[in-house]
């Protein structure tokens, strides 16, 4: 297999290009996706390749253009809608909850909405409290949609390709700090499995469950645990936030009997709490220690660098949570 070195940003672009080139139903729509190249430069160059009909700049009307994506999907297209950030996506929540996630059910199975919505999420760039939250758990709460959080370059491309083949609405959350991440991946753009979590590092002492932008922090924490504390952490990348793959988590717990869940979202009502509850329900007997959570501190994201760092999960906080456990 020949490989290619891409950034996460280029990988998303490669998937968009592949979709646009191979399926005439696919089009990209969103704020500044055209001449500007996307707020995170993901669609840079695609306007020249595919023209303004298929790389379609939308005005600042999140509700209307997300809703238009739903309508176009009903009308036989395969729209990819880019929303600039997850905070801005709140303006479109009516269309997401009341239409995208609902129309299939409410029509008794007559309609499907093959829509892909992508957006940047997450903190770490000092953009403060209206650009940087991690609200993926809100989307993961909604039956009728699929929620994906690609954490690797391969997933950045392959998950979008898989989403373009899905008959139901798929939401993809791209952590903004991941866009420059580099990776060597198969040259051939192929869809990846979007049903299962992945074990990114094998270990037998503790299971660290995470996703998206927190994966790198968890792998760094695992290195520290191995080098300084002689503990072998197993790191699970959730990949898909809805539906959750509890099988992979429970299989790991059968080995390690301890779990730390790491998520940038706020702890209360978040994805970490959901996973923890499912572990209690399905794997209580596997546990030798209470499930621990390392989450975003419950504040609106602050601007100052030291405060922002303190508000987010860090490798140090993950290591500290593991060290609390008795082995």
């Amino acid at each position: 297999m020949s490989t290619v070195k891409l950034t996460y940003r280029e990988a998303v672009r490669a998937a968009l290009r592949h979709g646009l080139a191979t399926d005439e139903r696919v089009f990209l729509m969103g704020e500044d996706v055209g001449g500007y190249g996307g707020a995170f430069a993901v669609s840079l160059g695609l306007l020249d390749e595919f023209g303004p009909e298929r790389v379609r700049n939308a005005p600042l009307s999140e509700s209307a253009f997300v809703g238009a994506g739903i309508g176009a999907a009903l009308g036989g297209m395969r729209p990819v809608v880019e929303v600039m950030t997850i905070n801005f996506s709140l303006l479109a929540l009516d269309q997401v909850v009341n239409n995208a996630a609902t129309l299939r059910y409410m029509s008794g199975g007559q309609m499907s909405v093959p829509l892909v919505v992508r957006m940047a999420t997450g903190g770490g760039r000092q953009m403060a409290a209206q650009h940087e939250h991690s609200l993926e758990a809100w989307y993961a709460h909604i039956p009728g949609i699929r929620a994906l959080a690609p954490a690797t370059v391969e997933d950045a491309r392959g998950m979008l390709l898989a989403a373009l083949q899905d008959p139901d609405p798929v939401f993809i959350f791209e952590h903004a700090l991941l866009y420059p991440l580099e990776g060597e991946i198969d040259e051939e753009p192929t869809a990846v499995d979007i049903d299962h979590a992945a074990v990114r590092l094998e270990g037998s002492d503790v299971t660290i469950v995470t996703s998206g932008g927190s994966l790198g922090k968890c792998l760094a924490a695992a290195s520290t645990l191995a080098e300084e504390h002689d503990l072998a952490a197993e790191v699970i990348d959730l990949r898909t936030l809805r539906p959750l793959d509890m099988g992979t988590i429970l299989a790991s717990l059968a080995k390690t009997h301890r779990a730390v869940i790491v998520d940038e979202g706020w702890k209360t009502g978040g994805i970490a709490g959901e996973i923890s509850a499912q572990i209690m329900e399905q794997g209580f007997d596997l546990l030798d220690w209470p499930v621990q959570r390392v989450c975003g501190v419950e504040v609106p994201m602050p601007y100052a660098k030291h405060l922002e760092e303190a508000a987010l999960p860090s490798p140090e906080r993950v290591v500290a949570a593991v060290k609390e456990m008795a082995f």
Binding site: R25, F27, E53, R54, A58, P59, S61, S63, A64, F65, V66, G67, A68, G69, I70, G71, A72, A73, L74, G75, G76, M77, R78, P79, D94, Q95, N98, N99, L103, R104, Y105, M106, S107, G108, G109, Q110, M111, S112, P114, P143, G144, R146, P167, D168
Partner: protein
């Protein structure tokens, strides 16, 4: 609770033009009877639905279209089976005029598996994809972006089709209304916007809700040609809709109709109707009933006899008796199927594309 004080600056809508009745032009007899029949069919359907609600066979919210029949019937004449319809929670009239079978609608409201939405929608959420009837949207203004998308899909696929989007005067205060009109005009999309202005957003009169109550002017501010139409006159509605739909179909961009109408019944069966006077409602029922006015016009033009009217009523009654009987006899959805249709099933069942 007292009524909210009206702002001293609140604007009243410009008094609307009424068609001269009886109409000056001689109508085509066969088509005129079709229009009358369609309106009567909706009214009787709604009366029977209210009855069934009182008998607790229909539950949930029930919003009746009585008084507004000329709007749905008139507009639907301008559409072909290939066109699309997006409607609101007060959509029984549009659904019937679009050709959805009354038995499937009644079954839906009875909560039966044979309903047009397989009993998951109810009165507010009728769907029929083969007839391109896309709901049944109960979020005020929420259907407009969907209509934009359906029209965008048609434009991208070079289809000469119209998407007719019905909404009420209440939707005009929503952000989605403005976002959608802007998009439709910006991208010159084939949408026929149909604002059913029945003067009340639930219990709030238009003068208390809209700083600019002449709604067609708002559409014009987006560069969308708009017309104000007398919604008590089914012929006027049809003529305006045909002209607008034809322009949309030719690729001339979106068109907007503000159709003045009035609902004779409360907002829903749960509404005690305290915000308007009995006299106001009675005056509309007496002087502005679209069905009575049309009947009178047809009689003057010698296009309607007592026998013909009786035949229409009798056919409609037979059809509705059968619809109710079918709904009563229909099976319910098995509870085991509660979670079906949240996602496309593994064998791809239900995927439309």
């Amino acid at each position: 609770m007292s009524a909210p004080a009206r702002r001293p600056t609140a604007r009243k809508p410009t008094p609307r033009a009424r068609s001269t009745r009886p109409g000056p032009e001689q109508l085509d007899g066969e088509h005129a009877l079709h229009l009358l029949r369609e309106m009567i069919r909706i009214r009787r359907f709604e009366e029977r639905a209210a009855e069934q609600y009182s008998l607790t066979r229909i539950r949930g919210f029930l919003h009746l279209y009585i008084g507004e029949e000329a709007v749905g019937v008139g507009v639907m004449q301008a559409l072909t089976p290939d066109d699309a319809v997006v409607a609101t929670y007060r959509e029984h009239g549009q659904a019937l005029a679009r050709g959805l079978p009354p038995a499937s609608l009644m079954s839906e409201m009875f909560g039966k598996a044979t309903g047009c939405s397989r009993d998951r929608g109810g009165s507010m959420h009728f769907f029929d994809v083969p007839r391109r009837f896309y709901g049944g949207n109960a979020i005020v203004g929420g259907g407009l972006p969907i209509a934009i998308g359906l029209a965008l899909a048609d434009k991208l696929q070079s289809q000469q089709r119209v998407t007719a989007c019905f909404f009420g005067d209440g939707a005009v205060a929503e952000g989605e209304f403005h976002e959608s009109l802007n998009l439709a005009a910006l991208w010159q999309l084939p949408v026929l916007f149909v604002c059913e202005n029945n003067e009340y957003a639930m219990g709030t009169s238009i003068a208390d809700e809209l700083a600019q109550p002449d709604i067609h002017l708002r559409a014009e501010s987006y560069g969308i040609p708009a017309e104000s139409v007398d919604g008590t006159d089914v012929v006027a509605v049809e003529a305006a809709a045909r002209k607008a739909a034809e322009e949309v179909r030719k690729g001339l961009g979106p068109r907007f109709l503000e159709i003045h109408t009035y609902r004779f019944r409360a907002h829903s069966m749960a509404d005690p109707d305290l915000y308007r006077t009995k006299e106001e409602v009675e005056q509309h029922r007496r002087d502005q009933d679209p069905i009575a006015l049309f009947e009178e016009r047809l009689r003057v033009q010698k296009l309607l006899t007592d026998d013909e009217l009786e035949a229409i009523e009798s056919e409609v009654a037979t059809e509705l008796d059968a619809a109710i009987a079918a709904a009563e006899a229909a099976p319910i959805e098995p509870v085991e199927d509660l979670t079906r249709f949240v996602y496309t099933e593994p064998d791809g069942a239900g995927a439309t594309t």
